[in-house]
Amino acid sequence: MNEFFLVTREEIWTGGPKKTLLEERLSHGAAREEAGIVAASDERDDELLALCNERIVSARELLPFLAGARVRIVVAARRAGAFTRTGVTMVLGIGQQAVVSTPLTAPADYERASRAASSKPKGEIDYRGIPIVWRGGSASVLLHEAAGHPAECGGAKAAKWPTWLSVHDEPEIEIDDSGNRCGIANLLAGEQPRAWRRASFSDLPLKRMSNVVVRQSNAPFELSPKRIEIDLVSAGHYDVLNDVVTIAVSAAELVDGRSRRTLAPFRIIETRACVAAALSGSEGEAIRYPGVVCSSEGQELVAGSHAPVVTTVFHD
């Protein structure tokens, strides 16, 4: 019999010295699979609950330093077979910006989101024909959608990716939510992620991305004097039926020589073939992007995201 136990504690706060708790949720349960039928109930695992209680206390200690942010802390402790693990996610919302962080990275991500939230947009733009520089690991979201989701679905049309590009799902966990050993999947080659994941004890496990890593090897790289620089992305979507990728850019600047102006949020909507053809260059090592809350089949899961600086040019 395959057994899975999960405890999650979620709290929503307004951060700052006068931190205020707005919402608090506890969830616990177990799922047992036998002969293809899953039976789930809200039974409690005290060891996992104790782990959650311990981890959420330390996450709360950051709240006084996150003034002006709406902070959602989610601590999850899970056991599949004999393997137990915990994870802490902090979603920081500041104005119109939101980033998915961890206690370790929250201070830097808070600064990044605050900076973006304080910039006043001074214009809209048609992104086509202008080189785009995806900074701070943000290209990982583009490739999460353009390479990751098609691989999850299986059977997507092949795209002509640049030879310098690689995109893998590299789970940082050893054992997945079904008790199986995890492995690396080559998403550009259409390999399905190897990790079975579930958002709650009452969800069926699905093969989902857990940590997308984009790399480049000997890629060309040229910085155009006029370019769009993307810093934060608020949402992404892949429509398997039409093979279309949508990226909602929430923080970007138009750079023209020495001048910089903040752009209003905009959407990039392109077929996957156009995304592949638009990838024009890359530079450096993979940089951690604040994670992605990925929603598929009604299950919201956090996926890690890493990418080097990447350039694209989408043509009309």
Partner: protein, 278 residues
Amino acid sequence: MTEIYRKEGRVVRYENGRTIAVLEAGEAVEDGALFRCGPSGASVTIPEIGRERVSGIANAIEQLVSHPLKLERLIVSEGVAKHSYGDVKWEERTLRVHAAVVFRALRVLIDLGDDDLADVREIASMFPRAGAERAAPSRLRLRPAVAAALLPSLVGVAPPNVTLMQSGGGLDGKGAAIVEQGIAAPPFPNWYRPSYRVRPVRMPLNLLLKSSVEHVRDDIPIAIALLAPPDGLTLRLLCADGRDVYPATVRVTRIESADEKVRWYPYGAGSFGAEMVL
């Protein structure tokens, strides 16, 4: 004032070929601005729900949707829940069907709140004839499922020749009677609470459109299904005109008539769809 809501429930869910049975009991506490929820620790007293009904519905849909159509997603669930809020206790049984059916680059979305599969049969027979995109016809009849999906978007903007109502009957998320009344703008009289894990919100429940003209002409093109969730008053629809079937995008600007025969669909906080002419 501290408000406490408790719920215990059982659900059997068929999800793309796999089945899961869930039982749980939880409570939600609203204390001023603070909302807390979690398992209540109470024993679930609801008897087990058999898998036969959801499996039967799923199998029937899988047989109806055959080549050249593809069943992209199929979720069928049946649940029983016991609720309590203060001294008020009530019970409900629900059935939900969600399906996504694909033909070429088109996707039909189906949502049902009962086991009548007439809508699925019609879609399965007509969808394989779908041709190229056409302009929206000047007058269009909507099947009840399509009209039901539109109603939540009409709140506050319903044309003056029709009345958007909340249907009376049953209890809301705070155990209060759901009252029948016209729904024009907030504040709405009742609370919607789809789960103990979310804060209840004031919303119009079980919407119904009343028109002084109930005669629905049947000699004009008909929209049989949604091709995308409604985007405000813009609907992406699968339409049929005689034997011709085609996708079209319709902007709702007027409603000519609505039939009085209605069927409930799980859109928004519930919506009664009727045949309607735009």
